[in-house]
Every structure is written in structure tokens, then in C-alpha cells.
Symmetry: C2
Subunit: 461 residues, 2 copies
Amino acid sequence: MGRAGRERLVVIGGDAAGMSAASQARRLRGPDELEIVAFERTDFTSYSACGIPYWVGGDVDDRDRLIARGPREHRERGIDLRLRTEVTELDVDGRRVRVRDQESGAESWTGYDKLVIATGARPVRPPLPGIDAPGVHGVQTLDDGQALLDTLNGSPGRRAVVVGAGYIGVEMAEALLKRGYGVTVLNRGEQPMSTLDPDMGRLVHEAMDGLGITTVGGTEVTKVLTGEDGRVRAVATEDAEYPADVVVLGMGVEPETTLARAAGLPVGAYGGLLTDLTMRVRGREDVWAGGDCVEVLDLVSGRERHIPLGTHANKHGQVIGANVAGDYGTFPGVVGTAVSKVCSLEIARTGLRERDAEAVGLRFVTVTVESTSRAGYYPGAAPMTVKMLAERRSGRLLGVQIVGREGAAKRVDIAAVALTARMTVEQVAALDLGYAPPFSPVWDPVQVAARKAVTAVRRAG
Amino acid sequence: MGRAGRERLVVIGGDAAGMSAASQARRLRGPDELEIVAFERTDFTSYSACGIPYWVGGDVDDRDRLIARGPREHRERGIDLRLRTEVTELDVDGRRVRVRDQESGAESWTGYDKLVIATGARPVRPPLPGIDAPGVHGVQTLDDGQALLDTLNGSPGRRAVVVGAGYIGVEMAEALLKRGYGVTVLNRGEQPMSTLDPDMGRLVHEAMDGLGITTVGGTEVTKVLTGEDGRVRAVATEDAEYPADVVVLGMGVEPETTLARAAGLPVGAYGGLLTDLTMRVRGREDVWAGGDCVEVLDLVSGRERHIPLGTHANKHGQVIGANVAGDYGTFPGVVGTAVSKVCSLEIARTGLRERDAEAVGLRFVTVTVESTSRAGYYPGAAPMTVKMLAERRSGRLLGVQIVGREGAAKRVDIAAVALTARMTVEQVAALDLGYAPPFSPVWDPVQVAARKAVTAVRRAG
């Protein structure tokens, strides 16, 4: 348990949440007060997994640019970082973890006073025949990204299949397109981007068509076919085969909570750890958790959700670091904001989709409007479609989805803040937003939608 | 007045506020119920004065593109629009206005049941020697813009002086630069953009220097010098002369309330009409006012301010139109959001500057941070500086100013919504904003500032 009078903090996982927590705790408590040990399975710390598609696509030329803070920097700050060291068991009653040195294979128990679980998420990877064949790649870690790049650089192929059309799927479609591949995206849902309602997903589908990306919806991959050399040669669905020189899996992720569940810690409907507002694991005094392995409170629906996203992981880490150091911080929850792009197409969403609102019993109206990113007469004014959900009677804003070109994505922040403040669409329509011809029409597109929603709420009665 | 059972609405001023009010009233009440007469001095209706710099600069090639809705469209919608007709007197007790036909010079009284005053603002134009010389231009109306373009197209000159370094001044500096002029901006304040604190104005100054625009601060124009042909040849200050082939005046505007004041209607400290939340002129049952001729409630300071801006004028018009038609709407107030640009430099502000906060007795902390528009490793990540004011003790957000490049300006909307919701900087730091490498660092620049402000509030005690 460390030296007398000194507490020992153990952190499992060396990426955003874990190392933010460690760094923040170190900022507040010196090495004489708090020993900090962090275990990380890989060779990397504090990297931007969200940046991998842009590295693969060539927008970012060097892997190391994705690393916000390397092992040496963490160690210089007084964090005892153990790379290639895996935690294999968790004994929360005994306040100890079993760790395995991947080089030597040696395992041993080590104690803690306070524990931070930041084990992240693991990609969904169904046990399909051929899925482990050379040429089939995930894009979760920097090693994954490097392996994919090695395939792209080493293979003469020109056909790529991406399985899954969520954020990772569409971003990888762009990356492969930029690398000169003919890209086919196979998607279980009818439309890409299931984080949008299908009517907005259809706009993404159409834009991807326009970019030359083939998107096949409503299809389930059944196996990966390999050639005589054992490498991937095609992806099969129930009724078709798609030739492929390279396959990228973007089928989403699940919270990595194997250890935590084995130790009896509480997980929610999505398999993520459940915490209180200070990110302390429910029912435990000395265990905190954050990042992609936890569920977070959705402030709009009042339900827990699993939203793996670097920005949340960083915020969790800050909060955890403050609390384990004896200071105070809370993570109030999320509203479900996400932005992405496929080439010049920008995609954004926040709050509830129709099915989310229905699931919690909310009655609502929806409106969809077309507007532009700038005054219509200003050069570069780009069209965008804004869909808005508002609660019946109250007029409370429930969600916004935007699909457009330059200037579309970050407009969703207006709605994100308004959702957090539980504003009505009438209040949104009255907001004092930045207006000048190069930046917005005289009514911001979000407000054009809000005005229409005001009328729709009134009509619905 | 008017036919039996039919009310008569008179609107003074055919630009954004007036014609929005007329259009909204017409939408809600047909011609059998409500007669609508609108008087406009010029030949133009519903045009974007904010677009004039971009027309002059060549970004917009056709004047008519700045006209959102022309006279014919208004008339087709059943609005009796009288162009080149000036209201010369207002008799509010007698419910009538005196109008003069500019062609014939004929004057007559005409009655109303309800009146909308939307007389706009007039440019500040000090009575300096030579200020009316050929080659000296305002940029308030489309006619002003055309006259300036005629000068630019007709004159072989290459030197331009802009008087004033507010929004119009810096936007016109860009326009003249684009037209190939050497541009000098003369400004009364030490730094351009007095709607920012001087430390942020200095960044604008430096960026303008970098663009080749000479900005002279702390100087007062004393006269305009003319050549033998009577045209402008230079602008003189107390201690220098600046040669000029063309001069543009951008010294701000004042509410145009001559008529209203003569009629005894209430005006505020800035000379703008004072209204209630429905935009009804205080103390009057049957008179509404909106647009650049009114003062608006600043929700942050609780004081009235004069903020001439097309987006507010449009909102006022909507509210007035609803109320005069017997429906209901309110304009809750503003937070003082404004965005602008000079070439690629983006400038934004919302809420209170230091002097505004001091003027209402608020104690506050300020922080300034450097961040980027995108993840640091993503191509095109552009630097931006964010300054934030927060109230001591409460931590309430009071204001944000941003100077940067692409992606800087509209970020101010995050703060604008947060100000409206009276959020603390701690709440701002916890917001769920759109994050992806092409759109934002993992902490949005506004949140980087908010985090620093949280610490500053705590330290200030």
C-alpha cells in the first residue's frame, strides 16, 4: 500500500481517461502524498484514436502526431507508467490487482488505496469465418492503424470493403477513397449513420453515392473469403460477394469491462460501468471509472447510454483526477453530441432521435428545413438540412441532426448548449447568435428549424 | 380609420424590421381584416445592408442579390408599399402620420389604427470641413454602395482612407484591399474593434498590419482636404495628412428617432426607442418599434443597449407582426453577439467587455487562452485566441471574445447560448460539444478558456 502516509493510486489503462486522471491527480497531489502507478497493455499512451482515419487517409503524415503525451512525458511528471503490462484480475475487496508483464509473462498482485478503471472499449468483431485473415483490419489502436497502413502500402489492391457505416465506417471510407481505393460500405441498417434518423441517414447515403462510395444497406456479412495465399479476397453476405483487397471493420465498440464484471462491479444495459456524478463506481468508495468503459447519463432522456468518445474520456479523467486527489469535480452528463465528415460532407447530431424519444415515452413533433451556411448571396454559401425534434405541449428542444457541407457540423453546438439548458424551441428561435453574411444567413439554420418547430408544436396542440 | 371592421396598420420604414413586421402580420391576418400600408423613403425594401461591403469588395456581383424581397413581392402579398415616400411628422394622439411624396413634394396626413416605427439608424457623420466632397462615401444604403462603386470604378486612384475601425470600417478595409487599394484606417480608439477589449483589439490590429492595412489608432479626423477639382485628396487629423483618392466613413450609426422624439415617444440613453417585451413602445397601446431605431435589453447586464444588426431587426419584425395581428410574441433580449472578418481573420464577441462589467458593478476574472480550430495534428488547424470573463464567486459566464482564423467566429455561439442560459464557466467546461479531429480539439477552445476561468474564479475567492 505504499509508504506510510502516502496513498497509492492504481490506474488501469493508459489512454485518454486513465492518463488524464493520473495527470490531474498529480497536478493536485505531489509524489510525497500520492504514488501513481498506471498499467497499459500496449506501447502507447494518451493517443487520439479518433485521428486514426486521418492518419490512414494521409491527412496526418506521422503516427506520433496522434500521441498527445508519450510515456516519457508521463514519467517525467511523476507517474509510474508500466507499458506492456496487463491487468488480469481485480480484487476490489482486497484492494489489489493482478498484473502480467507481457515480456516475461510474470504475474503478481499489487495493492492500491484508490483505483481508476479506464479499460476503454473493444471493437465488435463477430466470429465470422475468415475474419482473422490477413488483409482484414480493425482501427481501434495505433497498432491496428499501422497494420492497415502496412497492408495498403504493401498490397497492389484497389478494392476496399468497409463493414459498418457508423462514424468509423464512413471516416474509413473517406480514408480509403483518398488512397485511391474503390470503396464499398456494407451496413446492417438500411441507411448509414444509425446515430441519425433514417431520413437524415439517407442524405448521407446519397452524398456518399455522389462521392463514388458504394453503400449497401440492410445487409449482414456472413463470412470473409480468402484466396489461395490465405489473404482476404472478398466479403460475402447472404446474397452477394464483394471482392476486396482489404477489409476494414467498423462495426462499433463495446465497453471493455471483463475485469470489472468479474470483480462484481455494476454495469448497465450496454455493459458499461455505472458511476455516480463524481465518476466513482456505484457502491464503491475507492474505485472510479471513466472513458469508453462507462455508461454516462443522457441529460435529455434521463437514461444511461454508452458513448465512446475522446472528449468525454478527457473530461472524465479530469473529474476523476480531482476526486481521487481529494478535490471535487463532477461530470454532469451528456446530450449525445457527435460530429463527423465524409470528404466535404459534414454530419452532426445531438439529443434524441425519433426512436430515442419514443423509447422514453416522449411525444414530439419533427421538422426538417433546408438552409445555408452563409448568407445566400455570399460566395461559398453551402446548403444544409436541419432536422429538429421538440416535445409536444412544452416545446422543449429534444434533438437536432444536421447534414450539409462546410459550416454544418459545428452548428450543432448551438443545439447542444440549448439542450443542456433545457430550452424550448421558442427560446432557441430567439437566441442571439453570431450573424454576418460570411458566417450565417440572417436566421441561423438552427433557428430556421426552431421557428418551424414552434409552429409545429402549436399546431400539434 | 380604414373600412368598417378593418384595421389599418401603418409601417414607417421598408427594410428588415418594417417589412418583416408587415409580412408576418399579413401571414396572420388577411386584407379583409387588416390593411397594411408601408412607407419607404428609398427605392428599396428588405435589403441586407450588412452585405454592402461584400458587394463593394466584389464577392457579390449584383446589387439585387442583397435584396431579400423586392417591392413587387411585397405588393403581391397584399402590402400597400409606397416607395420614395417619407414620413415627415407623427401625431400619436391623433393616430396619424404626415407623408410626403418625394416626386411631387405633396404632403398629406394619413390615419392608422396601429403603427410600426422601423426608421432604422443613421450613420454618424460629423460636420467636418470637406466631408461632403465627391469621393467621400458612407455605406449605409444601397444607393451609398452604388455611389461608392461608381467612384471606385470611375476613379484611377489607389489610396483609400477608412474613417472608423468598427465592423463597417474593418469590412470596408477588406473590400477596398480586394479592389487593389492601399488602405489606411483612422480610428479614434487606440485599437480597432472597440466592441472588443483593447487587448483583443490589438490582435486585430496586428492581423490587419499583416494584411497590409495601415491602422492608425488614437486619432481624430479634423477635416477632409479637396483638390482643385473639388474632389477629396486627403484626410487630415490634428497632426498628419493621409492622401486619399476615396474615403469611406464607418464611424458607427445612431438610432433614427427624430420623428418619434418629436412626437414625445420615450427614448433611452443611446437615443433609441424604448419598448416592452412585445416590442410595443412603452406607454403606448398602438405603437410598436423595432430594428435599428430601438434599444434592446442586454440579458447579461440588465441594461438597455443599442445594437443595430439585421438579425435582431428581423426578429423584432416577426414579433411585432405577430402582436399587431393579435397573436403573441416577445423579444426577450440580446447577449451582444457579433461576428465579423477581415480577409481570413475572424472576430467574434458576446456578452460583456471588461468596461461593460465594471459599469454595472460586476466583479470578475478574465482569462485568455490560445487554442486551435481543429485537432492540432489535423491539416488546417488554425490558431485562435479566446478571452473569457466570469463573475467572481458565482463563476457565472459574463463574456467571450475570439480572434482567430477559419472556424473562430461562429464558435462564439456556444458562449451566446450559455450566456442566455446564465451558465457558470464550470457548466461551460462540462458541455457536450461536437468533437472530431477535423472540427475541434478534444477540448473546444471555448472550453479551454472555461477550464482556465474555473481555476481563476476559485483563486480569486
